[in-house]
Subunit: 452 residues, 2 copies
């Protein structure tokens, strides 16, 4: 691989350009939008996102972990807000394990800067993909600055062009390509909690705040400027839905009833509600991810997922890291099929996990028996250090592949379901004798809830 | 509904035009291809297809059952050809129940003729759909004769434009539209058994011939001119696959080993094999099928299925019949959502049934225990006339909706699985005492294997 075209200069596209550029590969990146370092990003569209271990590992591979972490905010756990305004805390992992809230725009800028520092990387903005020739790995892009078409030439085209990928569309139409797009019933809308008068965070800073309301939820992630970005996840249709929030009165009443404690913190609630878009949430699954040694999909283009596990960007970054490892390991061999085989099932697994986590976040986290389950899991983890890792931690704090994490996690869930049926479990789990019960359960599950 | 645009003048589009035209509705049909009454149809692409009761019912609604049946050939059952050339017969249903082989081109011509006889129907050929405006139910078509664009105006657009529907593509991109395209591992290729020297059929005429070979199969359907159209269904990749049939020697050897009895009947085997295309087989599922009272999908555009149940055209014709019934029943009400709700689950059900029937045709029909199962089912059917109807008959010879047929069929299968485990069942089923056993089984299954 000596010359590569990348469609898309988003987070995954620019990280990929950086990785390949550092290998001395000639890279041309074509991005439909303008240079986000120069223009304002759309308001109200996922301005911050979560980064965790898989993401840090990928960033550290290009020496960026430290600098990016400086502009990220650690979130040590979930802070649940009940309807009455009571708070409950649930840690994400062990002491010191956190996920990080970072600004999408800022991270993208860092990656673009670093990628452009590579002599072999060129980034072309305002270039719209018109057509892909799969057989020749060439693509036509319209340079919107002068309305001229240019043709890219390379050995490989990477489609890092997001959930609505043009590269994938060509594969969908021209190959025997399996494809699925599935929307959930919920949409989302972003709202802002600005900093307080003295420039501080209006809620506890180092948490992901959740207002779980079973069929819907509000969340808030901290930003470095003292603000929080809130996101309301709500069904499009039905009793409690965007459809039924048409007037300012309806919105006011809904927020006052459901999220009373946060209303005073969102001064522009009504204006933002009616100005910011309602965006949809889609899962996209496809195969194959690659065509010969010519075309490959990566990131959202290959596996767009719902945002509820905080693994959207992270799973794309892991794609890049794995691809780079394969180039390293097989320097003179075709690697795209290896890459696709290594990642496809993991893409499906994280898609499933992300859908399941929506139910956890909007419903289960408000349930005392769920929090008990989490405490028991923490106890098992202490008894089997490095062996028993709860599903959330496997996904978020380890590098176990998603597929294995999902499989082990399903068995863990089964075991915990049985444990929670033990009479008086609320108290039993605190007794010393419970240790032996745990050992028995692990034995009964033939160690299949543990890492190998 | 006074004015309607139909995209697609294939079988479903022209039948729909005919139905709506007979209601006095103004209909404009736009078809990308030329008038098939004037041009030759592509060789080697599904030239004949199966019609059965649901199809006849839809045709009889416009007075065409009789005339179409005249140019159709009844197939009373499956004739299985073993590797050694031995024949086994399995009837499709009761005495007198048959499915019919008809020419796609001939049927389409009849439907076009009849539709054009309606004063309110206009059919425009060589018009390519460029763009659909969902909100206004207008569409732009390129008239390829003069390269001019025209805009259709109507209250409703029907997408009857097939598996790769342009109308559906617009919905897929512009709505929160769930969509799946799934290819099977097999492709197909058509071959011809010409009439004998004296103009007769070279195989028994009134059967669907099958050469079941577990992972692949050949079938042959009779045509009115004395020929049969053969279709080879074979995996693209793997040991026995199109990939491994690259040379004339490979093809000759493969046919000689697997289909020895038919080789002498296909004189142009090798030329046809390398001239005719290898075509793929896709299942397409989507929702919603309709947008407001403006756009609706029908036929393959809504539910493209694999051909193994002979229900591809038939299920599309049933869409048209049901739609017409709804217009009749609710003359002054919106009906597109009712139509979509009535049909969507049935589309999914026939898609699943069609995939399952591939395994039945290529593998099970060659198995003695499968034929025993069919005989026992025929016996149960005799004992419960009009109440117990085997799945194949429910789908093919009844008007029970596909969804219910599938559900009842799954329970029937479970019951028969248990019956076939009875020791010495090969002989027991012929004894008089077996009647009581059947009654007991039916009772145990709480009549849920019977029609209501």
């Amino acid at each position: 691989m000596e010359k590569v075209t990348i469609a898309g200069a988003g987070l995954v596209g620019s990280l990929l350009a950086l990785y390949l550029g550092k290998r001395g590969i000639k890279v041309d990146v074509y991005e439909r939008r303008g240079d986000m370092r120069k223009v304002q990003v759309d308001a109200g569209r996922s301005i911050n996102l979560a980064c965790s271990n898989r993401g840090w590992r990928a960033l550290s591979g290009v020496g960026l972990e430290e600098s990016v972490k400086e502009s990220a905010i650690a979130m040590n756990g979930r802070m649940m807000h009940s309807v009455e305004g009571n708070l409950t805390f649930q840690p994400y992992g062990k002491e010191g394990e956190a996920i990080y809230s970072i600004s999408r725009a800022q991270l993208n800028k860092i990656l673009l800067e670093e990628a452009e520092k590579q002599p072999s990387v060129d980034i072309h903005f305002h270039h719209k993909c018109m057509d892909i020739d799969l057989e020749n790995a060439t693509a036509r892009f319209l340079d919107e600055a002068n309305q001229r078409e240019i043709q890219s030439e390379a050995q490989v085209i990477f489609g890092a062009d997001g959930a609505f990928s043009a590269v994938r569309e060509t594969m969908r139409k021209k190959l025997r390509f399996n494809y699925q797009q599935q929307y959930i019933e919920h949409g989302y809308k972003e709202l802002t909690i600005p900093p307080t008068a003295d420039g501080q965070w209006a809620l506890e800073k180092n948490f992901l705040h959740i207002w779980p309301r079973k069929q819907f939820m509000l969340i808030a992630l901290p930003n470095t400027d003292g603000s929080f970005t809130c996101t309301l996840f709500l069904a499009y249709h039905g009793e409690k839905s965007f459809e039924n929030l048409q007037t300012r009165e309806q919105v006011s009443k809904f927020f006052a009833e459901e999220f009373a404690d946060v209303v005073p913190l969102i001064p522009n609630l009504l204006d933002e509600f009616f100005t910011n878009p309602t965006s949809s949430l889609v899962t996209i699954s496809c195969s194959p991810w690659q065509y010969q040694e010519k075309i490959a999909l990566i990131g959202d283009a290959a596996h767009a997922i719902v945002p509820f596990y905080g693994q959207g960007m992270v799973s794309g970054f892991e794609d890049v890291r794995v691809l780079n490892d394969l180039i390293e390991e097989f320097p003179n061999e075709p690697i795209l099929e290896k890459y696709a085989n290594a990642r496809k099932d993991n893409g499906d697994a994280i898609a499933e996990l992300a859908l399941r986590n929506f139910i956890e976040m909007r419903d289960l986290v408000g349930d005392p028996s769920f929090l008990l389950r989490k405490r028991i899991e923490a106890l098992i983890q202490e008894l089997y250090p490095g062996k028993y890792i709860p599903l959330y931690s496997m996904v978020t704090f380890s590098h176990i592949c998603y597929k294995d994490a999902l499989a082990i996690g399903k068995r863990q869930q089964k075991m915990l379901d049985q444990m929670l049926k033990i009479p008086n479990i609320e108290n039993v789990w605190r007794t010393e004798a419970f240790t032996e019960v745990i050992h028995q359960f692990i034995k009964e599950f033939k160690d299949a809830v543990l890492l190998k």
